[in-house]
Symmetry: C2
Subunit: 131 residues, 2 copies
């Protein structure tokens, strides 16, 4: 839908960096909301509205945009039930489930980073909690 400048330096750099598996992986999980959405779906199937409530502060537009990308990237599955009112369920794919242990490590590293750089939270928090 949007204009694509396939030959802009921006796009060239993006493609170049995506050849690196690591940059590629970071792009799939990056963005402001994706990891949070995936976290909400851990061990659970949720419908659109439930997801929106749990993520909190996300607009419907951003939620659907992120879900579409995650779906296209094979990280969530979308199941639409042909009922009225509509019901659509989202859940993690195995590929996404495989990435969970890595998030946990990153989370622990993030907490360590906070402590060592003095960016500590004003209150303690358990691993995995991310309201």
């Amino acid at each position: 839908m949007g204009k694509r400048k396939l030959e802009s330096t921006n796009m060239i750099n993006e493609r170049h960096l995506d050849e690196c598996d690591l940059s590629y992986a970071l792009r799939k999980l990056g963005g402001r909301w994706k990891i949070l959405i995936l976290g909400k779906l851990e061990n659970k199937t949720l419908r659109f509205k439930e997801l929106k409530e749990r993520v909190g502060n996300i607009t419907e537009r951003m939620l659907i945009l992120q879900l579409k990308e995650l779906e296209a990237d094979g990280l969530v599955t979308r199941t639409a039930h042909p009922v009225v009112p509509p019901r659509v369920d989202y859940e993690l794919t195995q590929l996404a489930i495989d990435s969970i242990p890595i998030w946990r490590l990153l989370e622990v590293w993030g907490a360590q980073h906070r402590n060592e750089t003095g960016n500590s939270l004003p209150y303690p928090k358990e691993v995995g909690s991310c309201d």
Copy 2:
């Protein structure tokens, strides 16, 4: 320097998400260039120009912006030698070194993702290679 709309929803969301150690960690390592820069500095001290040559295609402006952020975030150290012409060395901190095993896991996951989603590279590549 730039205008800051501290109370925009954008900023509020950003702060909110940063309370999550995982989103926080992803923000520290995210962006187009950071992981690549950190990778170049693994086991090596490099000066500005060497870094620019190795990262390839990055502008001086972007490189210095990323380096400043990495320095402020305690991930690289900057050592300026008082000589003419100037010489500035960059190297990883222990905190950054601690994160390397996690990148490797993400990298492996990225490669797996490619295979399973049909986004495979047109040629094989070794782990850790990211020209």
